[in-house]
């Protein structure tokens, strides 16, 4: 299994000096504006750095706003490939990076022409980081809408493209049909009411996904089923891509999902991630979802803002501040987080009103 087991951020966006461990499936929690999304963006920037050989756009825009230092770093440590540090480059280094990238492009074009085999750059050892990662903030109102066209279909950060990809798989070669069947099987595992997926024509070249449900005589357009079901379908489609992203970055993973589905979905995603198919990092504000990580609190990362700097910590470390060695936790993990015992909750803005009354 290959995954990033640790990340450290220095003067990067809202982080000044932060570090945490990661798991194949990591849940990221914290108050609004704590820096959860910036943590996800770090992986997107890391992938850009690796895939473009250090030629990252606008490093200066990624610098901590209060930092006077240009010492901006993203450090990641893979469980198999080892550590990699990306940092803001000097002008000379940027020029070198651009040259390397140009050389890569030529090699790639030559490989496509069949002139000589493509030699991956050394950075390619960092598991699949050959393209830029996206942070997915799926919008259920977009997922499953009628789609089509001639361009290469891909899943956009808001979930557009899912219908098109599923339709291509279903109507294409055997490998695609198998992927489609896998998505349907996985969807039924997560949402048992669903019997099958099919497609309907809207206008020439555009088709939408429809859902066949047990007990209903006719299929209904995907837009008519719950937000949660559409969200699950988007995640499953992403996971079943021929080359799924090495790290799937999901904002608000449980948006629209019923809490009773969490157990099934978390188990499913954890299995996928543990099998090494992809690494998953997802943000949430839901204590019920955190409850599902009771047996592996190390897989929950808490993001907090202190003195205008975001910090990272693993939940298992925070539990040690009040649990005796070997003692079992006597309350649900989500309740522990909600209560504020482990941090990562909105701060009380009281200092100014806590001043005592003047005599």
């Amino acid at each position: 299994m290959s995954y990033i087991k640790e990340i450290a951020l220095k003067n990067y966006r809202s982080f000044v000096d932060a570090r945490c461990r990661l798991s194949p499936f990591t849940l990221i929690v914290g108050a609004n504006n704590a820096g959860k999304s910036n943590l996800l963006k770090a992986f997107a920037d890391l992938s850009m750095f690796v895939s473009r050989h250090g030629d990252v756009d606008d490093w200066s825009q990624k610098r901590h706003h209060a930092s006077k230092s240009y010492d901006v770093e993203i450090h990641a440590d893979w469980d198999d490939a080892g550590p990699l540090t990306t940092r803001m480059l000097t002008d000379e280094e940027m020029e070198e990076a651009r040259k390397r990238r140009e050389e890569m492009r030529k090699q790639w074009e030559a490989a496509l022409d069949g002139q000589h085999p493509f030699k991956p750059a050394p950075a390619a050892k960092y598991r699949g980081f050959t393209g830029t990662l996206s942070v997915y903030a799926f919008d259920p109102t977009v997922i499953g809408n009628p789609e089509g066209g001639d361009a290469i279909p891909f899943i956009r950060p808001n979930g557009a493209g899912v219908s098109w990809i599923l339709d291509k798989w279903n109507s294409g070669a055997k490998a695609g049909r198998e992927r489609f069947a896998q998505v349907v099987a996985d969807l039924r595992r997560c949402v048992p009411e669903i019997e099958a997926l099919s497609f309907y024509d809207v206008v020439a070249g555009k088709r939408g996904v429809q859902v066949e449900q047990f007990g209903l005589p006719n299929p209904v357009p995907l837009s008519e089923v719950s937000d949660g079901t559409r969200l699950v379908l988007a995640i499953l489609t992403l996971i079943n891509l021929e080359s799924p992203p090495p790290v799937i970055l999901l904002e608000d993973i449980n948006r629209g999902l019923h809490p009773r589905l969490y157990e099934r979905i978390v188990e499913f995603l954890r299995t996928i991630a543990n099998e090494g198919k992809t690494q998953i990092l997802a943000t949430t504000h839901d204590p019920y979802l955190i409850d599902e990580f009771r047996d592996n609190p190390e897989a929950v990362v808490i993001v907090e803002k202190k003195d205008a700097a975001s910090t990272l910590s693993n939940l298992d470390d925070r539990l040690k501040t009040f649990l005796e060695p070997g003692e079992e936790l006597e309350m649900p993990l989500g309740q522990v987080w909600f209560s504020g015992l482990v941090g990562g909750v909105p701060q009380m803005k009281l200092p100014e009103i806590l001043k005592p009354a003047k005599p």
């Binding site: 009040f322 309740q335 522990v336 504020g340 009281l350 200092p351 806590l354």
Partner: protein
């Protein structure tokens, strides 16, 4: 500035208790509010309180100046302030409630030891009878007649059962909502903060035994701790 751990039923309640502590001790605090959810039951609150006490003790041993407030509405549990209540008319669940001020004190003692003078940090216990709204109302209405309802709202099933009347008298949340409306403050939190800012602790202690008990805890806090 001292860290002030506050275990309360909501963020708004925690803010009120923190402000009371500032008013009564005359010092500033950095609040660390920990919320419990009544729906999770008293047993869960006990567990949370135990964990919070340990965490505060750890912070204190690490060199931080730390104080601690544990608060929970009394909700008709036995208390000297409601001794006149006809407990036979309460629901079985209410009748079986232990004295909350006592069990909270026992829980703190189970973590910090029985000798309160040897506790590693200053602690105050707040058990408003029957709920925080009683303190709020008395704080903002010092000259008005003092009602003594037992329940949250008049339309609650338990209140109707207790009073056995077709028109149950207004209960604490009803009374405070009315007062809030009269004073033209729409936000509950702002109203509670206003009540704490204007608090005359000595006068309120004279009208509310449960508040007096809370104030007595705070009066015992060493002045040096809160000024570090």
């Amino acid at each position: 500035m001292s860290l002030l751990y506050i275990v309360a039923e909501s963020g708004a309640d925690a803010a009120f208790y923190a402000l009371c502590a500032a008013r009564i001790t005359g010092h500033e605090f950095m609040p660390i509010p920990l919320e419990n959810r009544k729906a999770d039951g008293v047993e869960m609150v006990k567990v949370q309180l135990k964990y919070a006490l340990r965490q505060a003790r750890g912070a204190a041993s690490g060199g931080d100046a730390v104080c601690f407030i544990a608060a929970m509405d009394n909700d008709r549990a036995p208390h000297p302030e409601n001794a006149a209540m006809d407990r036979s008319k309460l629901s079985r669940k209410d009748r079986d409630e232990p004295n909350r001020a006592e069990w909270m004190r026992e829980l703190v003692a189970s973590v910090f030891g029985q000798n309160t003078t040897a506790w590693p940090l200053p602690v105050a216990l707040a058990v408003p009878v029957e709920m925080l709204e009683s303190w709020i109302f008395r704080a903002v209405s010092p000259t008005e007649p003092q009602p003594t309802p037992l329940f949250s709202t008049a339309d609650s099933e338990s209140a109707r059962a207790y009073y056995s009347q077709s028109a149950t008298p207004p209960q604490w949340k009803d009374i405070v909502a009315e007062k809030q409306s009269q004073m033209g403050i729409s936000d509950k939190r702002a109203f509670q903060e206003m009540a704490a800012r204007e608090l005359d602790a000595v006068a309120l202690a004279a009208r509310s035994l449960s508040f007096r008990m809370f104030k007595e805890w705070l009066d015992q806090w060493p002045k040096a701790v809160a000024t570090e």
